[in-house]
Symmetry: D2
Subunit: 345 residues, 4 copies
């Protein structure tokens, strides 16, 4: 029985982690911390957990957390970097859903997050938790940086093309659409139903924090610098990311070749589902599931490769991927607890 | 291993049944029929099932269905009454999600459904599949009439009050709000996003087919005639039913007493969750789950009892309840395969 | 040219007022105040007003406001009661969209709003701005208390029945469904798209501030005490209120009689549209318009009268009604600037 | 008084036309045809028009239509091309909202619409009704082909860049997001709230009928061939198009220059609103209005020009633009009847 703790489980990635862990027989959620909600039963805040998780929010306490086998950080950035070292030193495996350890270049991190990094020695140690790329490293990792939601959808879409050297890496475009849950549960005017509902808009055009994370990954895949234009859009729905990716082939390509490339690349990845040629994935087909559904299209008229990649931002884009990492770290089946069929409609 | 068949699994109750059965170890979905989609892989129509259910739609064929242990009808009304007898005679247990066997009074059925009932001999035999009322009968049943979605939410809300004889059964009001999936997957103008979205309206005010079903149940609970006003409303969301129930107490009551009554009545019902006094349930807290969450309020000012009852119309209001019935019929744990935490947000 | 000022126009009733006034030829919005946004062009905050309203938010300043012919308060409660007297004394007509002057009984107001009323002398003077009831008084009023959104929909629905003495006023039920804009533009977790979207829930079951306002009106209509059960529900849409009203007739009634009663009562009310017998109004049919669409149903089976009443909570339930009052106060056509066809779909 | 007729006004562009025309003093809608609804009052089908438009649907009748000054076709394609000639010959001005006369190359039209064009002689005569490009020609036109919704948003976004020769016209990308009303009011499974709601998907990736229309326009603007990748997406909202446009500059550019270019190009276009530098337009800011709001961004890092262009697909993308054309054809103020502030929220 794996003893798990969750720090800061008051938001959407927190409740999603609890949903995925609450019914497992091989994991027990022992500790759920929240400064503001200490003393409150978790199921009072999240009534969907009534009857499934009989735990009370507690103040974060290192001694108690240190008794866990694994601790998840479902916190805003800068929390994990300040406390993870202590837990690691006491043998706890740490899975950080925040951005603290995603960027390998400390100065880049500091420029995007506008603060000094307080645990630079852990940056190197942290393994970027995208199993489709780093499965082996994850198996032996002590500290995981769970990828961001956009970075997951975009990297999985470009990965086969860049690894194969098939596209001009200097002219990549990622036009991404996210449900509002990506903005979290904090009370913000822009996330109100009356502001975000029945409307579509781009945001972060001048620069979004996921840009350097995506660029870092894409650079690694192709082993060469990338030029990426990344435009996220706020979409009037709760869950889901749809990434529409554009790339220019560097040599002649065709649909069959691209289709085979994607299918082959992901043959051993249980959570990446390459759809048949001609498909147009919908975010609802992965709602609540850890799947990434991908379709690759070659448009001969304009000689563009277009990849459509969809995930549930709270599952494969956050908590499901965190659990997938946990499974690998503890030698469990990669899909344990994640064989969840998407909720449709 | 229970071998299951599903007839007419092209709509929302069908795909929901498949979602709930696809990952079970003790049930195997062998046959899924659809005249119009025969030959098409189920996962082509419902991409959420890709990788979970490798079955092809087939023409309904009695020989093949008769080899199943249980057959679900996820069909429009009048299909089950024409073919269930044959399956029953060959030892197949039948769980009908349609309305064919819900009403015990054949003439009432015929007046609401505007056609002759072709299997009146099965009406008596059919067990009304509301386990919170009929658990024992279900255990030995061969033919189950799965309750409608509104009837489930309304009956579970009024049940303790009527059984206890606490309210005036001649003055019951059920103001109900349903998500659009209750209207099914058929192409109908009224169910378009641009028609049903961003709007609220009542419908069926002059009479809705669920009225006689609810009245039949309520009459049985209190063993006396009921006067029920039932007004359903179309609500701009996909899933969920919210029933707001009004009743006049026949003697002095108080909140504590009502709370205790409800908690006691449902103490052994794993899928009815009586919320603490003062609660206001939300349909999202049961989305995708088989739970019915209920709150009972006494309003001293107006001397009204108000019950708030929420379900997911496709789960406890249809396919989840069907599976719950199957579990009981086959001697399995009532909650098998249904311990699903609701998807929130 | 009427010179108008708006105090606190940073929320949804504020922007709606500006939408309705911006294109008028006979009214000029001179002053729009907001402490927090002083100095910001209104159209920067509400880009729908770009090109239509070239005004900058300013600090509230009595001298400037006193130069207006009419001042609207689009503020939270307690603002108007503290400053309206000064404006009134200087000859400005005041239209208060908040709750400060809606209740005639000061002690009731104070018990619901948990604070002392600071302008009790104005309570008597204030005219309750429901033109369908008080048209003449409004014409000569200096201070208008614009009705709340629920109170508008509910009162217009019950009005003919109570005036005619047709129903038992001790057993009235108002089951109301509101879009989320009723909660305003403030950043609150419960109004987030991810919280209020795709869900239905009751709220304020134990008591909502609109209850005494509705009861006060209904009591006046029938000239006798009322017993009202009022349950509001949060509905996953932006605009709209749907009131479903239940009443017991005190004598024999029929549909024709009720239909004629409603049509006759509202024959001279340009914004109350009595639908043909058998109709089921939808909130979308009045979105953006000042209309209240009403259908009255008699259900012979259960001997209940059911009234369905829909409005746009931000128009007839707030800013449109405010403008309707202004028109009457200044001797303009009642419908001036309000002949807006609802936006459908 | 202009006498107007509308053919086929049973869909969303039809009701939107009626909304925009019903309250005008200078236009009277005399004839509204529909074969299937002949005899039904328009306001029975569209209750938002109750009290504003007292007209009954009639069978299309050439004699009656010929008495109009202007006839709008709000029909599926192939209707206008079969009957417009007769109306034109009798002096009626024709404004076709369908696709029949949008493409100047008959063979291209026939290959995309899979049928022979039956009025090739009118193709040349038809003026493409994008006033920001063709204002003068529209003024004297007899037959207008109203642009499609995507083509309007995309062309207005690329227009200044192509006219100025600033971008590589062979590498244009238009990633477009549309509300579901773009699919019309026909009963189609894909447009159901339960299918299109809470989901995002691309469609028509292999080719969408608006592609040749857009390409034709862009080619004309820059007077050279264009290579365009156009990916439309179905977005879970009722109204609105958001076009995200990507282009590569052919020389050094900067934000100030681009901003000035756009502002200057549209200085005389009342319905194109160039937002300040750094803006991110939202579709809700133009809901119900005829405005196109545009922001141009230069991203120095990736050397891309990104244009964000939003319209209401039913107004500037269809019926509003049709009215704008009518105004110009009849020598009225271009903005007559279109000075409608968008409905926000």
């Amino acid at each position: 029985m794996i003893k798990a703790g969750i720090i800061g489980a008051t938001g959407y990635t927190g409740v999603e982690l609890m949903r995925l862990l609450a019914t497992r027989q091989d994991v027990r959620v022992d500790v759920i911390t929240s400064r503001e909600l200490a003393g409150t039963p978790v199921a009072d805040v999240f009534p969907n957990l009534r009857g499934y998780l009989d735990v009370v929010f507690t103040e974060p306490d290192t001694e108690i957390l240190a008794a866990c086998d694994v601790v998840f950080y479902a916190t805003p950035h800068t929390v994990a970097m300040n406390t993870a070292a202590e837990l690691l030193s006491r043998g706890v495996r740490v899975i950080d859903l925040s951005a603290d350890f995603r960027l390998k270049d400390q100065s880049v991190w500091e420029s995007w997050y506008k603060t000094a990094h307080t645990a630079p020695e852990l940056i190197e140690q942290a393994v970027y938790g995208l199993p489709e790329v780093n499965r082996d490293d994850i198996t032996t990792a002590k500290l995981i940086a769970v990828p961001g939601c956009y970075p997951t959808a975009v990297q999985l879409g470009f990965l086969p093309l860049l690894e194969a050297g098939l596209v001009d890496s200097s002219q990549l475009i990622a036009d991404c659409k996210s449900g509002v849950s990506g903005a979290g549960k904090k009370a913000a005017v822009g996330s109100l139903l009356c502001e975000a509902g029945e409307s579509m808009k781009a945001y972060g055009v001048a620069g979004h924090r996921h840009l350097p994370e995506i660029s870092q990954g894409l650079t690694r895949f192709g082993n060469k610098a990338v030029g990426l234009t990344f435009i996220p859009h706020l979409t009037p729905m709760i869950r889901g990311i749809h990434a529409t990716l554009y790339a220019n082939p560097v040599a002649e390509v065709n649909q069959e070749q691209l289709q085979a490339l994607f299918e082959s690349r992901y043959a051993d990845s249980p959570f990446v589902d390459v759809l048949p040629a001609g498909s147009e994935p919908a975010t609802r087909n992965v709602r609540g599931s850890n799947k990434c559904q991908i379709a690759v299209h070659y448009l001969p008229e304009s000689q563009k490769i277009v990849v459509l990649s969809v995930i549930d931002n709270l599952v494969k884009g956050a908590s499901g991927q965190a659990v997938q990492n946990m499974n690998l770290m503890f030698g469990l089946t990669e899909t344990a607890g994640l064989d969840v069929v998407a909720l449709l409609p």
